[in-house]
Symmetry: D2
Subunit: 301 residues, 4 copies
């Protein structure tokens, strides 16, 4: 069976290795990125480089977007050189960006009015699984359409879940990210409390890794804290964006999120104080400052 022609838009830290896996799996691939140099990195794998989203639409059966937020998705859709200016009837958009259910449904309505179809398919897992093709993928939209695309999604992910109609995939992603944010923030609060009270951070870490709260995430972030390594695996500003989407979604559908609301404000502060490009666990640094820990004692390493 002939493979669908795939277009891929958004070649960031996650998108680039995901697109590479598609190329390696033998799909005819055209790629687009706002800064074109990233697109050319895919050329050795046989990918064609488009100069506009419109060209992607023309050369693809399925278009995948992996972008930073909903406005970025809307930007590639609209305008004279946007996706929607081209595309054949029934062309499929698989949006893998993290957006809110409301945004996802709004985009679906917009493109379906132009004859396109849509699946939402946000992911969990960071750059490692993106490279290895072992991401988790949470899909929302028409189930038959999902089944049709399962093979393509399997090239990028290992655990692929059909969650329900449009919005169910993005909601699952937000609810999962809520737990990521809470585990990061609570680890930071716990470390600040222990450190301010005189407990040695390494010893505290040695205890925690033995306990039932030691998820893979907690273990990784504990390592960052002990080493004082705040380089971004998942930038704080992205988690801030996602926290905003959670709060807005809870507001819209009527689900109060008191702990998440408090964490959101912490991340607003950390972003305002210039930590947006550090890893999310740099929220510890903010809490250490709030606790009046001096520079000598505020970093646990």
């Amino acid at each position: 069976m002939t493979k669908n022609r795939v277009g891929f838009i958004g070649l960031g830290l996650m998108g680039a290795p995901m697109a590479a896996n598609i190329a390696r799996a033998g799909y005819p691939l055209t790629v687009y990125n706002r800064s074109a140099d990233k697109a050319h990195g895919l050329s050795p794998l046989g990918a064609k480089v488009a100069e506009t989203p419109l060209q992607i639409a023309a050369q693809s059966d399925v278009v995948i977007t992996m972008l930073s937020d909903a406005p970025a998705v809307e930007q590639v859709l609209r305008g004279e050189e946007g996706l929607l200016a081209g595309g054949r009837d029934g062309e499929l958009l698989i949006d893998m960006s993290t957006v809110s259910p409301e945004q996802s449904r709004s985009i679906a309505i917009e493109i379906e009015s132009q004859g396109w179809r849509k699946l939402e398919a946000p992911v969990f897992g960071s750059t490692g699984p993106a490279r290895d093709g072992t991401l988790g993928i949470m899909v929302g939209g028409d189930e038959a359409l999902f089944q049709e695309q399962h093979e393509l999604l399997s090239v990028m992910g290992q655990d692929i879940f059909y969650m329900g109609p449009m919005g169910a995939g993005t909601l699952t992603k937000l609810a999962f990210n809520l737990m990521v944010a809470a585990q990061v923030a609570s680890l930071a609060e716990a470390m600040a409390l222990a450190t301010k009270g005189g407990v040695d951070p390494r010893q505290f870490s040695d205890v925690l890794v033995k306990t039932a709260v030691a998820s893979a995430l907690v273990k990784r972030k504990l390592g960052n804290l002990v080493e004082g390594d705040f380089s971004a695996a998942f930038p704080l500003k992205h988690m801030h964006k996602d926290l905003g989407l959670m709060i807005d979604t809870g507001h819209s559908i009527g689900a109060p999120l008191p702990a998440t609301g408090a964490i959101h404000e912490l991340f607003t502060a950390a972003t305002a104080r210039g930590r947006g490009d550090q890893d999310a666990i740099a929220i510890y640094c903010l809490l250490a400052e709030l606790a009046g820990l001096t520079p000598d004692t505020s970093s646990p390493h």
Copy 2:
């Protein structure tokens, strides 16, 4: 070498199996519990039953307390039939209850003024590890004294940590429990958000267990949620008590805990609404009610 005579006060769900392990390890053991019937359960293992804390003091070299809170500890210390009314000079109290560092130091000062010595040694792990002697134990107090008692502690626990001076053990316990509370509360918020938004709770659970947030604790509580099982492994009211200690400790030592503060108020509400004897994960039920989920939809099973 002759083994120390051990007294054990507080034979609840945790204390009873811990005391049993001490008896089995060959320590001469005397036990006391406010309701005496629980004490007699230890007799088949050779434990003597005391009728007052005072008798425990007289018949022991080391006294262990495993009680619900600091006032309960103070109650066994004070009064005409209390521990402090007896005891030889240098007698040792190992308090394994979860209390705040401030309370622990205050108790230490009180009993040291009467010639006693003290270690604090709160634990992590629930009834299973208590039975198997595989608890984690976080010790604060004099390090030489800790070394002397290592063998006795090893009878109850597997991972035994010396954390520093009096207060360091209880602070570590509170900081760890902070993460327990946050993982429970954030799981509840995530499940309420997903359920209110129409995602199937079992499917959401199937996703979560594959992710980096799936600590042993999260997996266990997810099972409870999906089965609708809110019988208490760790009663909500105890977590409420511990959250209060965290907030008070953060207040005293100057460590702000914004997310924990929000979670504390949630637990105040759940306790006020009669859920104190359910498991801590019943905080989900409160959030489901707040989200306006009807009885039919509020329980995810």
Copy 3:
């Protein structure tokens, strides 16, 4: 000097008396409301009734909008019968709705690209001042334009403030509303705390009105609480909407709002539980429920 022809869109509880004052002041007035019956209520004052926003644009020099939120404003702007489908070059929109600075600027950009001009002019004060023409009005936009319209605004308001460029008026409104929400929510928390602890609500009210916290707002809401009157002067769902705008604005501009974040989640819960059409002070009822106050005791009257 000939008076400008004024168009008024949005004849709700606030808009209707505001429009009436404009008619009485002698401005040629055309009005539009989605449900036309409200528009006809203005006819006795000489107002013409338009059937579409487009007709308003054609018959006015200045168009005033007083609508529930930004999407409602966008709806009257767009489409074949929308304001922007008509209007002469340089026609002025004065948007008096409560929207966020970001939404206000976005609307300004949209209509200026069509040759319109814009002022934002949200108000404080409820139906009484709307009727009496004694509202407070906080204006953002071009200062010369503000000066030109001062006479028209004076017909509706008594205290008229020029706050700065587009966004400054709406931000001032949100910051003021933040304090309204906090005074309402803290009164509710205080009353729930006192009532749960056995203090008589009327006595508590008698104390509060004598103190330095007794703003006009607090006094009015205390009256509602003591009488058990939760009929809406300012509906809870509107305050919920405004709280969402505050949180989003704090997120965007980098101003953390921890107390407001907690209050926002409370209002999400109250709305989800069906209290959106009650007055904002019905947040007390939610807190009373959370405190486990029985129906007999939950209402302080």
Copy 4:
């Protein structure tokens, strides 16, 4: 009728003028303060100076305490030179300190077991009303006892409320202070939001004073903000203490206080960062720092 002999303990900013009013009203007065120099300031008004609380007990029919917190009250009660070491049967303690209902009842039980009687009578109003004898006084305890002491209380206060049994007076005080803290914190959040968004602080202040949220407290604190005057009328650390009592009381009696919980953590941070001796409105400075406002822009004056 012969006037009771009054003892007064605690001659701080509030206590000194209150004691002076008692002396001026013709009550035989003995005073005690930990640092004796403050006590001698009352001598010109005819007050005798005691060297210990024990001496106060011996020379008084009624003893008034106006101290910083419950431990300070307990300290004057206990010990060989404490109040309880002396005093005749039925001697009366009127504790006017701000303590929690739980602490107040616990002190009552302790002193009643020694034959004393007790009223709690915390106040509202600051140094001005203390000097003018126009404080508000909220009394809890036996009502007949309250009636007996009304005349004495009237010397210090203008609005004197009998709130109910022991605990009702202190609970009323805490619930009132909850609103003080919320008005201060929300003013700070509103000012930080407006300032970060570019609104001029003086203009914002000019708007606010015209609105329904402008309580006497808000007006006074707005003045402080605009002048950049953070000298303590009510020290931030005292409000932090009171917030802790509110949270503990809500925890104990089952009244969740989500907004207050968030505000409490803010005050923990401000105290930890060295602002405890500034006025409570210095919470604005913390929020301005969190918003990333530079020193030039963080102070609105």
